[in-house]
Amino acid sequence: MKFFSKLKNYFPDVAAYLFILLFVYAAVSKLLEYENFAVQIGQSPLLSAYAGLLAWLVPALEIIIAFLLIFRRLQFWSLFAAYVLMIMFTAYIFIMLNYSSFLPCSCGGILEKLDWTEHLIFNIGFVVLAFIAMILILSQDNQQKVASKTLKSLS
């Protein structure tokens, strides 16, 4: 029981660090091969027309969210932002798998080695991670609120 409550306490932090790792890595590997990345999303059947904008917007968002994840006080909302970004990536992959005639990948670095189904599972994993972390933060907050209320009523 003690182990679980400890896990509950650390889970949001661990999730935040994993997201920082993922986003920083993905953003840096995209920016390091910026030209290649722009070419790849130019090729993407989904986003070709917006390649110029997205080529810098996506890594920028990844870095900003990674930065915000450092702060504990912002943890809930930065995890929320990370969740939204991951949902969008997942939706992108899903549309690509189902509606596109060909599948280029532009995730950057080692993530490019994943095949599309592995990618989908990987992304859903991160979505679930953010989701659970947010619930745990909320339940802790609520417990604290209840605790402080009882403390107040006692005094």
């Binding site: 722009a38 070419v39 999303i41 130019g42 090729q43 059947p45 989904l46 986003l47 070709s48 027309a49 917006y50 390649a51 110029g52 929320f80 969740y83 939204v84 949902i87 969008m88 939706a91 992108y92 549309i95 509606y99 005639s101 060909f102 280029p104 989701f131 947010m134 619930i135 909320l138 339940s139 907050d141 609520n142």
Partner: protein, 357 residues
């Protein structure tokens, strides 16, 4: 925040963000196909290199394809044809025998259409026709106008490009031979642009698409092509994805001679069509085209002639730094003349499914 409210928030945001990606997808598709901002699309493995043979000369051109045989004409040996089957196993040299050859041929073009062939020379001007069974060419006795480009349409009718006698401008014309010979120039097909002289700025490539019965004319120095029916009525003026709308040419008049005063910017290098597809060898690099691929190959843009949409692009590799000069498309193969090489590609994936429709 209450857990319940959290679930509501996360549910709505998830739906919203999926919706945004979906919208991006739909609008990007529309932009790409209708008002392409010069972004090419290279689906992988559209053409697959198969083999190539050395022809020994770089002066060959495609004269036609009939019954599994590819016919190559040669600009420097105008009465010779090279016949090769599509598996590159059997080849032979053919010599065309014109019944009268007192003309001094200057720009001979041979076309093989099924079991007939034509021999054109627009600078004489003359047209011969004959059968592939004996390769004897008979002079067509009708009066033929001078022409600079020609394509056979149905039997006895041709579309050609001529210089209008009064103005010297490039003009498309329809030539009818046989029982009721007729020739008329269609002044309204090629549009002269502001400041253009009607010769250089309207220069381009002429093609007749026999499966759609359409005349196609692609400008060399501007991003447009024209689709007209076989009577010469213009049906559509279409923009290619390339960006140059105004021909970038400077013309100088030196006495009687007009010359290019500055090197022109070519937009298109070559064009061919097969079934409902138009293949354009573009000379301009797209927004996100890879530099490396651009350097080592020619870029072919494929358009759908039925709805005049850009479909996708593919590469045909250069040979010893020299780009493809001509291309010929069949149901299963693409043949390209690259310098001295005849290169064969297999048709795959997206292109294969387009050609199957």
């Amino acid at each position: 925040m209450k857990i319940k409210r959290f679930f509501l928030l996360i549910g709505l945001t998830s739906i919203l963000s999926i919706g945004i990606v979906w919208l991006l997808y739909v609008s990007s598709e529309r932009i790409m196909q209708q008002e392409n901002p010069f972004i090419r699309r290279f689906p992988p493995g559209v053409v697959e290199y198969m083999e190539q043979i050395d022809l020994g000369y770089n002066s060959y051109y495609f004269a036609g394809y009939s019954k599994g045989m590819l016919y190559l004409g040669n600009y420097t040996a105008p009465l010779h044809l090279y016949q090769i089957d599509s598996s590159f196993q059997h080849s032979k040299e053919i010599r065309i025998m014109p019944e009268r050859s007192e003309f001094s041929f200057r720009s001979v073009l041979v076309r093989v259409e099924d079991s007939d062939f034509f021999l054109f020379d627009g600078s004489v001007p003359c047209i011969y026709s004959g059968s592939v069974s004996d390769w004897k060419a008979y002079l067509i006795p009708d009066t033929i106008p001078y022409f600079t480009l020609i394509e056979p349409m149905e039997k006895n009718s041709f579309v050609l490009r001529s210089n209008a006698a009064s103005t010297g401008r490039n003009t498309i014309g329809l030539l009818e031979l046989g029982a009721q010979p007729n020739f008329n120039l269609l002044e309204e097909i090629l549009l002269i642009q502001k400041g253009g002289d009607g010769v250089f700025d309207t220069d381009g490539f002429l093609n007749f698409n026999s499966s759609l019965n359409k005349i196609i004319y692609l400008y060399r120095y501007r991003n447009g092509y024209i689709i007209a029916d076989d009577k010469g009525n213009v049906e559509q003026r279409v923009k290619t994805i390339d960006t140059i709308q105004q021909a970038q040419i400077k013309v100088a008049q030196i006495g009687n001679v007009r010359k290019m005063a500055a090197p022109p910017v070519s937009v298109h290098n070559y064009m061919t069509s097969y079934k409902h597809l138009l293949f354009i060898d573009s000379n301009l690099k797209g927004k996100y085209d890879s530099n490396k691929a651009w350097e080592i190959s020619s870029t072919l843009d494929v358009y759908d002639l039925k709805n005049s949409r850009y479909l996708f692009s593919f590469y045909i590799e250069k040979y010893m730094g020299i780009r493809m000069s001509q291309m010929f498309v069949t149901d299963s193969h693409i043949f390209a003349l690259v310098d001295t090489q005849l290169v064969k590609y297999g048709v795959k994936n997206n292109l294969q499914s387009e050609l199957r429709n």
